[in-house]
């Protein structure tokens, strides 16, 4: 009969895809000895980690790697799901809309502060609607110019910028982006005034290489390949320490300018999640973050692994939020 034949073919196709996918998704190879069930049995099923930015990007790849390690510790898989949109707002609101039972996590970042103050989150959902599980990584940004630019170092660049206020074009990664804030912070520290060009981080690279802007403020990671190839010159690193991939580039602090702004990432859950669950998650994620495997991996993305506990993360978020609010107010973007 026609219909049965059709069903058989449909099922065969489904089965084929299933098998292909089966060998693809490796959910936490055998769990290393089951965690002793002392108090509440957690986790009992797979967890959902919301990733806020595009599939295949740094946030996504690092988040997945970290989750893999933590899943091994917890004995249940952590499935990374990309929920992009609204500069992170869509993903944050999704997580806040779920039960606070520890099964819904978010790969949190500086974006929570930015997107809240930009007015894209409901008024009662700022960073404090979340509870930190662990802070994991820090990432520095850099200011770079084209290799054949007339400025050999930051000194000369500042001199020129001071002589031409509002003339020096600086590409950032979009209005209200982390790099826009960094550029604003650099303006403050250097005592200059830039003309900000809101591109995205990849467009910034092409704009600088194509000679359409004078400089860019971007994640160090995006500048590294160009600097190594001699196409760009990094003038300074906005961060606490130099970067292995560009050891010759001094930090802003070393050059006498007090600006350090780091893009941080961590794991967070809705704030009502019970203590013992948060602690369990914290241990798993910290173990994963401290593993050599993860550190090796993070290095490829020029991230510093700087894990802290959930409690420290909460305090850190509060402190960062205040600073970011101030910067956003300065560039006229603070809505709430």
């Amino acid at each position: 009969m026609k219909k049965s034949k059709f069903m058989i073919i449909v099922l065969t196709v489904l089965l084929a895809i299933t098998m292909l996918a089966g060998c693809s998704s490796t959910p936490a190879e055998q769990p290393t000895e089951p965690t002793e069930p002392t108090e509440t049995p957690f986790p009992e099923k797979s967890m959902d980690l919301t990733i806020l930015f595009g599939a295949g990007g740094a946030a996504d790849v690092i988040g997945r790697k970290l989750a893999d390690g933590a899943a091994k510790e917890l004995g249940e898989p952590i499935v990374a799901n990309v929920r992009t949109g609204g500069g992170g707002a869509v993903g944050y609101q999704h997580v806040l809309g779920q039960k606070a039972d520890g099964y819904n996590l978010v790969w949190n970042s500086t974006s929570i502060c930015v997107t809240y103050h930009q007015g894209n989150m409901p008024a009662d959902q700022d960073y404090s609607a979340f509870r930190g599980v662990a802070k994991i990584t820090e990432e520095a940004s850099a200011i770079a110019v084209k290799a054949d630019a007339p400025w050999a170092n930051l000194e000369e660049f500042v001199e020129y910028a001071k002589a031409n206020p509002g003339k020096v074009t600086v590409a950032n990664s979009g209005v209200g982006s982390f790099n826009h804030l960094t550029a604003a912070a650099i303006e403050d520290a250097l005592g200059v005034e830039f003309k900000h060009i809101p591109l995205d981080s990849k467009e910034s690279v092409t704009a600088l290489l194509g000679g359409r802007v004078d400089a860019m403020v971007n994640m160090a990671f995006d500048a590294i390949p160009q600097v190594q190839a001699g196409e760009m010159r990094a003038l300074g690193i906005v961060g606490t320490q130099r970067i292995d991939a560009m050891p010759d580039v001094p930090t802003m602090k070393e050059q006498g300018y007090d600006v350090d702004l780091l893009m941080w990432r961590g794991i967070a859950v809705p704030k009502d999640t019970p203590d013992e669950i948060v602690l369990k998650l914290q241990d798993a994620f910290l173990t994963s973050a401290n593993s050599d495997e993860f550190k090796e991996f993070a290095k490829k993305y020029s991230l510093t692994v700087a894990p802290t506990t959930g409690a420290e993360f909460d305090a850190y978020m509060a402190e960062q939020d205040e600073m970011i609010a101030k910067l956003m107010d300065k560039i006229g973007l603070k809505k709430q």
């Binding site: 449909v10 895809i17 299933t18 089966g22 209005v175």
Partner: protein, 159 residues
Amino acid sequence: MKQNRIIATVLLVIIAFWAYLTTQLPETTMIGEPGPKFVPAVLLGIMAILSVSLYFTKDLQKAEETEIEADEIEKEIEPQEELPMSGALKLFGIFFVGIILVYLVGFTIGLIVSLSAMLWMIGWKLFPRAILFSTTVTLAIYFLFSWALKIPLPNGSLF
């Protein structure tokens, strides 16, 4: 003549509403940049002109329409038979209820109910044929996505 007038009027109402929303948008904070209002405003302006011109355009006669060469996809479907619009809208309605059910009580129940209902409406026996077929399809897809591809399908917000 009448049809184009109705469409144009509906469009103009939408345009007016959208234009009102556009006026509510904030100004830009950047020098040179025309701001969030600019592009919607231009588009709405062009659409308003086009709608007005549509209002005064004569409806194409069926014969005329088939005469003209190089048309869009819809062409070949049209001449067969005119399907009643009410029937189509009913089917759309059931599908919409199905989508709402998916949101409320989850993917499997929502789809099984709405798919069975649609099949029943077009003349299948509700039991066992329609229900059996929609259940098989829904479960196969559910299995494929949640289990094999690890894509979390909606479980229903009521639970």
